[in-house]
Structure formats: structure tokens, C-alpha cells
Amino acid sequence: MKRDTLLAMLHDMLLARTFEERAAQEYTKGNIAGFLHLYPGEEAVAVGVLHAAEPNDYIVSTYREHVHALVRGVPAGNVMAELFGKRDGCSGGMGGSMHLFDSERRFMGGYGIVGETYPVATGIAYSIAMQELPEAVICFFGDGAVNQGTFHESLNMAALWKLPVLFVCENNRYQIGTEIHRHSAVTEVYKRACGYRIPSEKVNGMDVLAVHQATLSALQRIREGTGPQFLEVETYRFRGHSMSDPGSYRPNVEVQAFKDEDPVTVVLEESIPDYPSESQLDAVGRDNIAHLTGHMRREGYLEMEDVERMKKDVADIVDQAVSFALNSPEPDLQAAWRALYSNRGEEVLI
């Protein structure tokens, strides 16, 4: 893979982590309110998947979608401003953290009701198929979301009509405090696509390259007209479900075990040339992200300076995003009415 691609992925993963940790701080400061669901630990999913998408593809996401929006190219300032509820937010301050939208980038929204992403994605795909366009839709959802009725209904329709949707399950093993074996009779999520004869695959979500490769192949099959595809991406969230959740239902040792294979910190540590050593790197085994940096270093792609520059870059981006959000004005009530009636135009109703 090209050096630029790899560096771009690393950049986005670092940006994602920095952005989210800063959002947590801003929440504590009172600049952000409501529910705030953060993404640390899962960066390799968004980055691996979305770097494989074309600009004409559509993205449909959940309430844990800041990073999907960022990686899709929504400027960090507009995302942060939306979290702040400001006028320059990507939803004009009306949607907030759970409802980021950007029509220009075909970012079709964050949805707060679990299970809504399936029908929205299926509908966009229906429109694509009807017009025989070469586009695809990427539909994100969690492991808990798999048990919502719309999963079943939408996957059946998508398969029946061979619609161009890539279903991506971000399996972080928890539905808030309920672990997967307590919410699903079948815990291998990818197997649940079999009821609809949708080709399905499990991918290691700590390995951005594996995620990227699996997505590329799935999108390729979709564009060849074989219909929907399904990816189960195994990942983990380091934080609680949202800012109001201490996450005390998970044993510390479990959280630590996953942190040890954190895609971002591993990349960072690995990129410091002398630590760990090549041999240490090779021994990591389970952490496939290490393979990325290993690979990058062997190819001479990754230098200490790159990483330092990148860290500084993303810190700057996030700082600027926060200033931008702080300085953005509040929307007024007229703006809210305009948003509500945005589709009315000159129409005379009565």
C-alpha cells in the first residue's frame, strides 16, 4: 500500500483520538451537554472502512459518529461546533452530538434511535439501484443494534432486491452495560447475516489494514452488482458508553487487555524508532496494528519526525476546532423555524 495512504490513516486515527478526548474535556467544562458517546479504541474501524469509500458513496451512522464524520471529511471545526450547539455546527446546532449531518459529503446522519440506520441506508441504496448508479452505502451499527427488528427487516429487503449496502457492525461487545453473550443468542455477529444469504465476514477491528482491505473487497463486490455485504468488525471502546457511564460493569482487567492492543497508542509507541524493538514488535501477535507500523517502518515510511509532526498537526486542528466552536454564534429561534420548514419554499398551504 502507498505510503501516503498509510500516513493518512495514521493521521486520521490520531485526529480521532485527540478530538474525542478533547470533546470529553469540553463536556466536563460545560461546553457540550446532552449525551456524548465517544469512540476511543474503535478508530481503526472508522478509518479502515471510510478510507476505502469513494466520495460518491453514502455514509449512515449512529449516535457514536463524530469520528465517522471527521474521517469522512467533515471539518473538525464544524463537528466541534455542532457538539457545542453552535450556528456553524454541521447541523446548525439543531442536532448535536448524536445528529451530525453533512449532505455535501454524503454523510447522511447520526441517528439516536438504535436500529434506524438500517432502513435509511437501505432506502438510499434503493434509490441508487433504481437509477443504476455505481454508488454504495455504508451502514454502521453496534452489536446491540443487531437485535432491533429493523436489522432483520432491512437486511431481508436489501438482500431480496440486491441493494448496494455494506453493513458494518462495530462489535465492541457491549450494549451499554450488557455484554454480548447476555443480549444475543448467537454472539458471532457475522453469522446472523446468514438468515438473509448476505456474504459476511469477521475482521479484526484493531487492525486498520485488515479493515481497509475487507472493506475494499466488499465494496468491489457491491459495485459488481452482487448485492449487500456484511462485515463484523471486532473492536472495543475504552471509555464508558457515554460521558454519564463510568463503565463499572466491565472488569478492569478486560479494559486493560484491550487497551494493550489499542490501535492508536500502539501506532504511536511503535513509531518511536527504538522502542519497542523490531523483535518486540514481531512478538506482539494479537495486536495487528503493530503490523502496520512495523510494515511502515520496514518500508521506510514512518520516521520519528512524521509522527511528531502529525501529533502536532492534529493537536492544532483540534485546538482550532474548539476556538472555532467557541467563537461561533448561537443559532436563534428563527433559524430553528427555518430548519423545520426548510422544505416548504414558496408553497401555499392554506
Binding site: G95, S103, S127, L349
Partner: protein, 330 residues
Amino acid sequence: MADEIPVWKALNMAMDAEMAADDSVFTLGEDVGLYGGSYRVTQDLYARYGEWRVRDTPISEGSFTGLAVGAAMVGMRPVVEIMTVNFALLALDAIINMAAKIPFMSGGQFPMPLVVRMPGGVAKQLAAQHSQRLEHTLMNVPGLRIAVPSTPQDAWWQLRQAIRSNEPVVLLEHELLYFSKGPLDTELPPLPMHRAVARRPGNDLTIVSYSHMANLSLKAAERLSAEGIDAEVIDLRSLSPIDWDTCMRSIQKTHYLLVVEEDCGFAGAGAEIVAGLTKRCFYDLDAPASRHAGLDMPTPYNGTLEAASIPTITSIVAAARQTSGSGEPS
């Protein structure tokens, strides 16, 4: 000269006209295609426009309505047929939390040219689960518009207007109206979609109603006129927004208001109509506004009880008499 055709046919022609005019219009629902629609509204469209534009769906109301929401966001003009309103309870998340909120939540970035057609009302002994009425639920949803046509002429135009609108519109079609006939003049220009009309002028009492009950109210008004009570009958044609002005003008003239509705009275559509008009016309009213509504009871299967559970021409006459002060005190 306008031909007399049934309401289903007017809707069918409206669908056809809009589908012919605009490739982005498509319809979907259970048995809308090969079968031609439970109430024939989509008859012949499958042959004419093919399966992608006339799509038979599985029994998955929540998701095929949500699918239409997704399609509308990218500029398609889906017309969902929920086989009957009774199954719409399964699609309310898509209608309320998605269709009505996405334009707002996104700060106005997405169109929502979605139409959801729902046959409904109390028909003939379909029992409690198949006699659900949802007016009030849908009215309380900002961002949603509701049309309730009662004639072929209105059905023709209101469906076309709904399809052309970029906002989500629910069409509540009464099952007993599909086969009732009336004139359709396709050359007549349309009224604004949500304008109410006085179907019959009168001086003694204003009857405000909609859909099937507006027709029954008209018949009741004829009987009342024989008794010397001259009722004005207003057909709302729309439940959201409501054309208050047309109603107010009438009340300023008659000073009495009776609202006739088929849904359960308690917290039904009539609650808003009465509350809204009493507020606007408090000093014009010579007596409290009345509601004549369905009983607060699930619909019984037994035919006699079913009839007793909703307004009839006779019961409307009695309610009007009482409202206008000409009946026995209650």
C-alpha cells in the same frame, strides 16, 4: 363536465399522473404491485412502471417506511402505502422520529418528499385491531402534514400535491370512501392543499368534520334543514395544519360549534379542534363547543355495537340539535 368516479380511481389516476410526470416518484407497500393494491389504488401501475417503481414489500412496515425516508433524503419521491393505518403503529418511529425530524435535526439540509398513504377508519366489522385511528398521534408531530380527502376531487389533487411537496405528508384515506363516487374534473385548478371548505352553507350551527364523517355530517345537515336547523358543514380536508380562518368565519356567523369525528373522543382530533376554536372564538360562541366522537372503547366486532360506537347520521342530527340549543337538554 366532470365524470363520476370512485375515490380509489381518483387516487389511482393521481398516482399515474405523477409517476408519468416524474421518474423519481415510486410507490411501495404490501401487494401494491402484482396484486394491484388492497383497495386498487395502485392498479395497473406495476405493468406500466415496473417493479422498481411499484415495489411489493415483505411485511416489514417499520423498515419499508424507513427505507422510503432514506430514499426521500436523496431526492426520490416515495409514496408508501401502509396497507391499513392499523399497521402504522409499527412504522411510527420512521414517521415521527425520522421523517418528521431529519430536516430539522440536520439544520435543514435534506428534503423529505415522502408521502405515506394509509387506508383507515372504522370500516365494516374489522374488529378492534383493524379499526385503529391515529389522527391525534400524527397531529402532535411537528414537521408532519396530514391530508384527509373526502371526495374524488380532493383525493385527486391532494395526493398530487402531497407527492409534489418536499415535506412529509400523511394521507389518511377512509376505507369506506374508496368505492363512493363523485365528480372529478381534472381541469379544475386545485385549492391549497390544507384549505378547509364549507361543503354546505348555513346560519344556525357550524359542523366541523373531516373525511367520511364530513360526508355523514352533510347528510345530517339535510335532515336538520327539514327540522328548520340550518347547519353549515365544514370539511377540514387537512388535520395539520388546520385552516382556522375558515372555521372562525363560520362560527362568527352561526355562534354554535359541533365537531364530528370518528376517532375516540378522549384526546382525539376533536380535542384540538374544539380547544383551538374555543380559544379563537370564545366570545362568539353562544354555547360550549361540542364534540360528537367515537366512544372511548376499542371497536367491537359485533355489527350493531360497532355502529353504536361511532357517529351515524342519526346521532349527528341529535348532537347538532342539542348543540344548537334545539334539542332536549343533556
